[in-house]
């Protein structure tokens, strides 16, 4: 890919990264608008295919969607550059917020506001958990694994990594046993 076109794509993915407010759904919507409709760099089928595969991989699906489409646009170098561009706006904003938080966190007014925000965060997390549960916990096995992880981590304080690996291995064993 010519450097000039990579620079143009980089600018486009910076924009996408800055506009993708609200998780995976928003990222897909912005990518569809910018890459598919406005610039016609790919079709919606490409985006759907990328989503199908990246959803199965561990990690942030929004970033992996960009990594996958970036590879399709220009191989490994383009994938690296475009993924970095996509992450840059949120990374810089988060860095600024982190520095601001460090220097302001002890002010009484900020402490008071934070307590209220925290209450709102818990409410939003409950809703997120409900949405995730509705889309993922669709089989009795999945429900049992979720409940099991909740009990094991909540009561026995077993390291979270082992719990996730254990659940994965158990699920793989069930697959083999079924044959």
């Amino acid at each position: 890919m010519a450097p000039a076109s990579l620079a143009r794509l980089g600018w486009l993915f910076l924009r996408i990264g800055a506009l993708a407010f609200g998780g995976l759904g928003a990222t897909v919507a912005v990518i569809q608008r910018e890459l598919v409709q406005r610039h016609r760099l790919m079709t919606m089928t490409d985006v759907t295919e990328a989503l199908t595969y990246t959803k199965l991989l561990p990690g942030s699906t929004a970033v992996q969607l960009v990594a996958y489409l970036g590879w399709r646009l220009g191989g490994w170098p383009a994938s690296a550059v475009l993924t970095a561009c996509f992450l840059l706006p949120s990374g810089l904003l988060m860095l600024a917020l982190a520095y601001g938080y460090s220097s302001l966190a002890h002010f009484p007014a900020v402490v008071a506001i934070r307590h209220g925000v925290l209450a709102a965060v818990v409410a939003l997390l409950l809703l997120t958990m409900h949405q995730l549960a509705r889309s993922t916990l669709t089989t009795p096995t999945a429900q049992a694994l979720a409940l099991g992880a909740f009990v094991v981590v909540g009561l026995l304080h077993i390291n979270s990594a082992w719990v996730v690996i254990g659940a994965g291995v158990l699920s793989m064993t069930l697959l083999t046993a079924r044959r």
Binding site: L57, G59, A109, I113, G116, V117, A120, L127, A167
Partner: protein, 171 residues
């Protein structure tokens, strides 16, 4: 060395984050609050709020945790740790060197790991509840925001704003 620890811990989190970044919040809370004590529960809550108000992926919380623990270099190493492996996996899948994603063992692993991650999110929410709803007025704030989130289309940024405003008035 704290930078290496930030890098490896976030890489492990990212490789266990079946079910996307939002579910991985539980893994981040386990590591950053419970295991290492890098953040207090209330700082973690602030980080989640920042993740809601910034664009892009939720896992960008890694930048916040890294900065709190190790400044600019900490932020860089944590962010790199959180996204390097998932990026490589996704690009390799696009290249079809190997159809990682289609491998039935990986799919079966993911089908078991994702529910476990969601179950752990329940523990995270419970921990934050204990931290936040110690007094009744804040429980009322939480219920109000929950109701607004369910029955209106007000974006999360404004809901967090409502929470902050009420917190300020309550103090």
């Amino acid at each position: 060395m704290v930078y290496l620890e930030l890098f490896t811990r976030f890489m492990i989190i990212s490789l266990l984050a079946f079910g996307g970044g939002q579910a991985a919040l539980s893994l981040i809370e386990r590591v950053a609050v419970q295991d290492t004590g890098w953040l207090t529960p209330s700082s973690f809550g602030a980080a989640v709020a920042f993740a809601y108000v910034t664009p892009g992926p939720v896992l960008i919380i890694a930048t916040f945790v890294g900065q709190q623990v190790g400044g600019l270099l900490g932020a860089l190493t944590a962010t790199l740790g959180a996204f390097l492996a998932p990026w490589a996996l996704a690009a390799a899948t696009a290249q079809q060197v190997k159809r990682f994603a289609q491998d039935e063992h990986l799919r079966a692993f993911g089908a078991g790991a994702a529910p476990a991650v969601i179950g752990m999110l329940g523990v995270t929410v419970l921990d934050l509840c204990r931290e936040t709803f110690a007094s009744w007025p804040y429980l009322a704030v939480g219920v109000l925001v929950f109701a607004l989130a369910v029955w209106t289309r007000i974006p999360p940024v404004f809901l967090l704003g409502v929470g902050g405003l009420l917190g300020w008035l309550l103090a």
